[in-house]
């Protein structure tokens, strides 16, 4: 985030058109939007790992991770799970309707510190949504990174977000695409079978000092995956994660996302390192 203080009204949503939507799984849908104003659509920049506030008049707002990459400007993509009053309404929206969106907010991934490094992207559950942004960004700027690993574990093939997109990446030679399901109930699953933790044995030939690992998934995944990552001797500050909190403003004012009494997740997060988690109490 730039140091300059932003002076426009940060609470006012801007109109964006819903361009496309389709299901990723039963309860998670893909939403692609574009600022109604063409110039704004093309100039809107963000970092992988940032989020935006989506507004439904009469119901309210909620934060959603951006799933698209800034290296492909114009369209912004979200993966949204139907889980409450706001997402119920978002799921009712038809293509070509206009909704209110504001942002981007949050720190995003520290791309500038990751350049030249190996990148290990570990996703589970909804973690695939923000990490798809980072993955696409890295693939679009492939020469800026050394080896890239994608590790994704889902319960069943049907629960894997962006399944077709990620399976198509398995053929690429510039990416180690490691996909696994706990149980293959289709008989057609082309990837691994077993827990996500079994995939770390394939992360080989990397200098741990020159590697950033990003883990985003349900809380239980952090516990087991971080243990695996530590076995690879990755420094604690190079293990990154993204946290979820209640947010009402996204701009460091309403207070709901405060962690430990002073960390505003919406400003200083949602991306934190494992070292942050260890030395700032209350993060996870």
């Amino acid at each position: 985030m730039s140091l300059a203080v932003r002076t426009e009204n940060p609470y006012l949503p801007e109109p964006m058109r819903l361009i496309r939507r389709y299901p990723l799984t039963d309860d998670v849908h893909f939403f692609q939007v574009r600022a109604v104003d063409m110039e704004r659509a093309m100039s809107l920049t963000y970092s992988p790992g940032q989020f935006m506030m989506v507004s439904i008049p009469g119901i309210g707002e909620a934060p959603f991770s951006i799933s698209s990459t800034p290296s492909r400007p114009g369209l912004i993509e979200f993966g949204i799970r139907r889980v409450g009053r706001i997402t119920d309404k978002i799921f009712e929206l038809k293509e070509n309707s206009v909704l209110g969106v504001r942002g981007p907010y949050g720190n995003g991934f520290p791309i500038e510190r990751m350049i030249g490094q190996n990148l290990v992207i570990v996703m589970g559950g909804l973690g695939a949504i923000p990490l798809r942004s980072l993955l696409l960004y890295a693939l679009d700027n492939r020469d800026q990174f050394d080896k890239i690993f994608l590790i994704y574990g889902a319960k069943r093939p049907a629960e894997m977000l962006f399944r077709k997109e990620f399976i198509s990446l398995m053929d690429r030679e510039d990416l180690n695409c490691l996909l696994t399901v706990d149980k293959d109930d289709t008989g057609k699953w082309p990837g691994h079978t077993g827990l996500v933790t079994t995939l770390f044995q394939y992360v080989k030939g990397i200098d741990p000092e020159k590697t950033t690992v990003v883990v985003i998934g349900p809380p239980v995944m952090y516990k087991f995956c971080v243990a695996e990552v530590l076995k690879l001797n990755i420094p604690k500050h190079q293990i990154l994660m993204s946290l979820e909190r209640r947010m009402k403003c996204g701009v460091g004012k309403c207070g709901h996302c405060i962690i430990g009494g002073y960390i505003y997740t919406c400003l200083e997060g949602p991306v934190f390192s494992y070292w942050d988690v260890l030395h700032m109490k209350g993060l996870i």
């Binding site: 609470y11 009469g58 889980v83 207070g255 009494g261």
Partner: protein, 341 residues
């Protein structure tokens, strides 16, 4: 900083003289308490008031206000209609809180609702003599040198008036007949003896030395659980605190229409729903966790963020909490001292 003198008997006329700036607000006595109220007659002001029940924040970010309207066409905000106001009678603790709020609302994303009001608000501070709940001396807020347009120190038959801003200078120069611009040695001596007298009146016996470190090392202390069992989660402590800006946002749609307003309303970190996310997970389900958030925020957090604690020593939470969980008792508990009920 320039200082001038104003005869005490001329205060009424002076406030009337500068009244063209905008609405006058000040402390008045109401049902045995002091409240910050709109003043029609200058004589309504109670110069002996210490803390008003609600601090200035109710004017700069009101308990409930509309941020913008929405209808079929989209969202539209109108920030042009805030009145100009003079807040009279803020003491050093509240002026320090105001400075903290100024900085907080300017950081990263400037809050237009705060600043549109703030930029139309003149601050006329007033000296005070502390009571048993005051401890601004312990939070390094005993005196202020910024954050006000004018600051009046009551030296008996006259006020020594510090002129703290360009606006303050204009206000004083607008009433030349009421102001004596000559401040002599005798006046200075009276000011010094008054300061000494005031310093001697503080009675609070808590030790805030190294409090951020004590808090950090007490995060696992049983004291949070012990106090959490008493806490009623009523939020009164956060409502009266001059450095508590948290808010909730909700939409109010007009009946039978597709238009309405997005409302911003004071919230409290002590409420159960404060950290509840969609899907049902609550990051601070336990009252002990919510209490910890408040006191870490007040006693430790702001030191790192703003170089000073967010607690300014105004004493409002003392006596407001129905079960006596306040800065005084918590500091005592954190020191492992007995607290008299």
């Amino acid at each position: 900083m320039r200082a001038v003198k104003l005869k005490k008997e001329k205060l009424d006329i002076f406030l009337t003289c500068i009244g063209s700036y905008g609405e006058l607000w000040g402390p008045v006595r109401q049902d045995g308490r002091h409240v910050l109220a709109r003043i029609d007659l200058v004589s309504q002001i109670d110069l002996s008031a210490l803390r008003t029940t609600l601090p200035f924040k109710k004017l700069l970010f009101p308990p409930k206000f509309s941020m913008f309207r929405y209808d079929e066409k989209g969202y539209s905000a109108d920030l042009s209609s805030f009145p100009r106001r003079m807040i009279f009678g803020l003491h050093p603790c509240d002026i320090k809180a105001l400075l903290i709020m100024d900085e907080f609302h300017a950081k990263e994303f400037r809050d237009p609702y705060y600043y549109e009001r703030r930029n139309r608000t003149a601050i006329i501070g007033l000296s005070c003599i502390p009571d048993e709940k005051c401890f601004c001396n312990l939070t390094d807020n005993e005196t202020v040198t910024e954050g006000f347009d004018l600051f009046l120190t009551d030296l008996g038959d006259f006020f020594l008036v510090w002129v703290g801003s360009s606006l303050g200078d204009d206000l004083v120069r607008g009433c030349p007949d009421l102001i004596n611009a000559t401040v002599g040695h005798d006046d200075l001596n009276r000011y010094i003896s008054w300061q000494k007298h005031r310093s001697e009146q503080f009675k609070m016996d808590i030790d805030l030395t190294a409090m951020p470190d004590i808090v950090e090392l007490s995060l696992e202390s049983p004291v949070w659980e012990q106090e959490g069992k008493k806490c009623l989660s009523c939020g009164a402590c956060t409502i009266v605190c001059p450095t508590c800006p948290c808010f909730n946002v909700s939409d109010e749609t007009e009946l039978g229409k597709a238009q309405g307003e997005r409302i911003r309303q004071w919230d409290s970190c002590q409420f159960r729903e404060y950290s509840l996310v969609a899907g049902g997970h609550n990051f601070r389900e336990a009252r002990a966790e919510r209490l910890k958030l408040r006191f870490v925020h007040k006693l430790q957090a702001f030191v790192g963020k703003f170089g000073k604690p967010a607690c300014t020593g105004c004493g409002r939470c003392i006596g407001t909490c129905p079960v006596d969980i306040d800065i005084y008792t918590m500091v005592k508990h954190l020191h492992g001292e007995e607290v008299k009920a």
